[in-house]
Amino acid sequence: MKPSRFEYVLPRSIEEAVAARVEYADTVVLSGGQSLVPTLNFRLSNPEAVIDLRLVPGLADVRVDGDWIHVGGRTRQRDLELDDAVHAANPLIRETLHHVAHPVIRNRGTVGGSIAHADPSAELPCLLLCLDGEVVAHGPGGARTIDAQDLFEFILSTTLEPDEILTEVRFPVLPERTGWCFTEFARRHGDFALAGVAATLTLAEDGTIAWGQLAACGVTTTPVRLVAVEDALLDGAADPSRIREIAQLAADVVTVPDDESCSSAYRRDLLVGLVERALRTSLQRATERATARTSREVTS
């Protein structure tokens, strides 16, 4: 199949892009095209206008500034993955991106495109939610910031307005004494996962677990925070023997019914296994980081 006819709009500024959003009744934004163009090819989407962001300046800028990593909405996934300053500031980002599709897709696919698309199985929305990130959206009334917690509404649906454009994605820098992990299970490397988990775990000065942040993808209609697991981590010591028990608390977030790839029961078990693995890896990395820091302090 081939796309149906559309108006092709090539704005030179964010204001022009927003104006096009307002002018046409039914628009889509062409960022990396890796999710949009398949839907155009199969005529699942037949928009009046396609707004191509490629000439809007500044949308692919990446900078680490204080506690935040600012990523322009049109930044290619591959460029963010290869960015060493970003990796130094928050290693969970590169680890997550390695699970997003194949390198050839990441060469074109963008960070903002994936988050605006809001596929419940996608890794980047899950990452944003886990880290308590935020996005910036430009609309006719100017710019606003939306917390990850308030962004994802349903399958392929966000609280972005139809006349808004997502211009920036912000990820926090990883705090001190914090470990991280992204892990998922897919039938084939690069496929959308049956389930995936993003985690960070922060230790207190005395080495006990201070708190953890966890989110999962592929298990319900949006990426979801694993609140029950997070609550259980708050009042425990960093005792590996309890991790399996705590991971069980994740199972209840699964709402995906039996589907062609697996049963719902399998997905629950899978999620628990992934949470356990994510917690163990995060704990180990947090301990390594805390120790490395202490020995630096001792030697200096």
């Binding site: 199949m1 081939k2 095209g33 398949p38 090819n41 191509d52 194949h102 050839v104 690069g190």
Partner: protein, 184 residues
């Protein structure tokens, strides 16, 4: 310079002018905004080496290089490429018609049967090895993961994995030889 008007898929579509470089040659054309790069290459420029399988990014048969990076031509509109540089499988061979190391390895290792997936594999593997010739030392499982974005319905992948490794060795050896300082 190639210059022409190609109206596809429907003859009365309005068109936009684009200019780009394809396989080292400047190309100018007027295209419908809904024309895919894969169709532009095949129908307009006659570069039928780029194959079209699924048209939704899954099979990899249509892989080309855009501005030096591997990309799906079926997921790119031709109008997005105004000012870009595109390389297709037709550009892999040397000026004298000699095969590139990746092409040579696919022939040596029986990396193809029907050949439908081959242009896409050649372009993906060429990009992969440009970036990282150390794939020569990777395990078979790791090589399978690195090329998982392309599908083959014939070979069972054994020959393709072997070809990827052989090409990586050839490219790395050539790089190492080029890096040896010449003694004066």
């Amino acid at each position: 310079m190639t210059s022409s008007t190609y109206r596809s898929p429907v003859n009365d579509d309005p068109t936009l002018d684009i200019s780009l470089v394809v396989n080292g040659r400047p190309v100018e054309a007027s295209v419908s905004p809904r024309l895919l790069l894969s169709d532009f290459l095949r129908h307009h420029l006659g570069l039928t080496g780029t194959h079209v399988g699924c048209e939704h990014g899954v099979c990899g048969a249509c892989t080309v290089h855009i501005d030096g990076r591997a990309a799906r031509s079926c997921l790119t509109l031709a109008v997005q490429l105004d000012g870009a540089t595109v390389r297709t499988v037709e550009d892999l061979e040397g000026p004298d018609g000699s095969l590139s190391p990746v092409q040579e390895a696919f022939r040596d290792c029986h990396g193809l049967q029907c050949g439908f997936c081959t242009p896409g594999f050649l372009m993906s593997v060429t990009a992969l090895l440009d970036e990282d010739p150390d794939v020569a030392d990777a395990s078979d499982t790791e090589i399978r993961e690195r090329i998982a974005g392309n599908l083959c319905r014939c070979t069972g992948y054994q020959g393709i994995v072997a070809a990827t490794r052989q090409a990586a060795e050839t490219i790395r050896d050539a790089k190492e030889q080029a890096d040896v300082p010449t003694r004066g």
